[in-house]
Subunit: 115 residues, 3 copies
Amino acid sequence: MNIERAETSERMSKIVTHGDTVYLCGQVGVAGESVADQTRECLRRTEVLLEQAGSSPKHILQAIIWLADMGDFAEMNGVWDAWVPQGHAPARACGEAKLARPELLVEIIITAAKV
Amino acid sequence: MNIERAETSERMSKIVTHGDTVYLCGQVGVAGESVADQTRECLRRTEVLLEQAGSSPKHILQAIIWLADMGDFAEMNGVWDAWVPQGHAPARACGEAKLARPELLVEIIITAAKV
Amino acid sequence: MNIERAETSERMSKIVTHGDTVYLCGQVGVAGESVADQTRECLRRTEVLLEQAGSSPKHILQAIIWLADMGDFAEMNGVWDAWVPQGHAPARACGEAKLARPELLVEIIITAAKV
């Protein structure tokens, strides 16, 4: 199967496609904003990358969510639940992990399918 | 490749199948029980979902394990090692992460293959 | 699709191949060494396993990196950036998680493609 990479730096590719499977690099929002706003921006960036990859929010297979503080679980979920296309929710797991910068509150790692 | 989802809520699907690959949502046990008992229940639930997905414990490809306290590593491993079908152990990683509720001690994220 | 396992113990397989996709167990370096040295050894071991699996560092799809202390981010990245084959960087995410032993500072979970 063919591998395609996009938005590739020396450290990572934002998109890697292998056959019909799409891997995105961990997406974050804007450091310093509220967890709800960071989640919204994180998911907006995810949408852009999925479209670029020939996928969509309806084609997400797995989402692994890291929260810097599990106390933000409900606030993140409020944004997540409203964003997920009805009937197309992915397999999901959410755990607490500090992120690359202390001001980053949420990071989402997406595996998706090509349309 | 076809995507099939099962046990789908607005937040997540417990099972997502993409071609021959099965993604389960993070499985936990019963909050408040010992880590050994939570691991047993987590793996029992995993078995049920794998069977529902047309897979089995012999067909697990990757397991990512989160422990709320790495001090529970040996106790979790005792249950895990006894459960894994001999000769069919998956690729595995285990790290410490607080989970959705403080009483949850272990969560396992499974990727498997259809039989 | 066929499943092949290699270096299989009762707990895990170091390599699991499913069709064209390769899952490695979480790789670490030598406990007690610096994070740079642990990262170097971790990546050296990754290379050995990828070669054994019929893959290579140019064929990594996703890397999930756990650091025991996010303060080691820059030092780990220095080794990582120099190691990744130019133009072939995988999708990547990095979060903080304590590992199986307190002296372990970095663990990397690799999904790759067969050549």
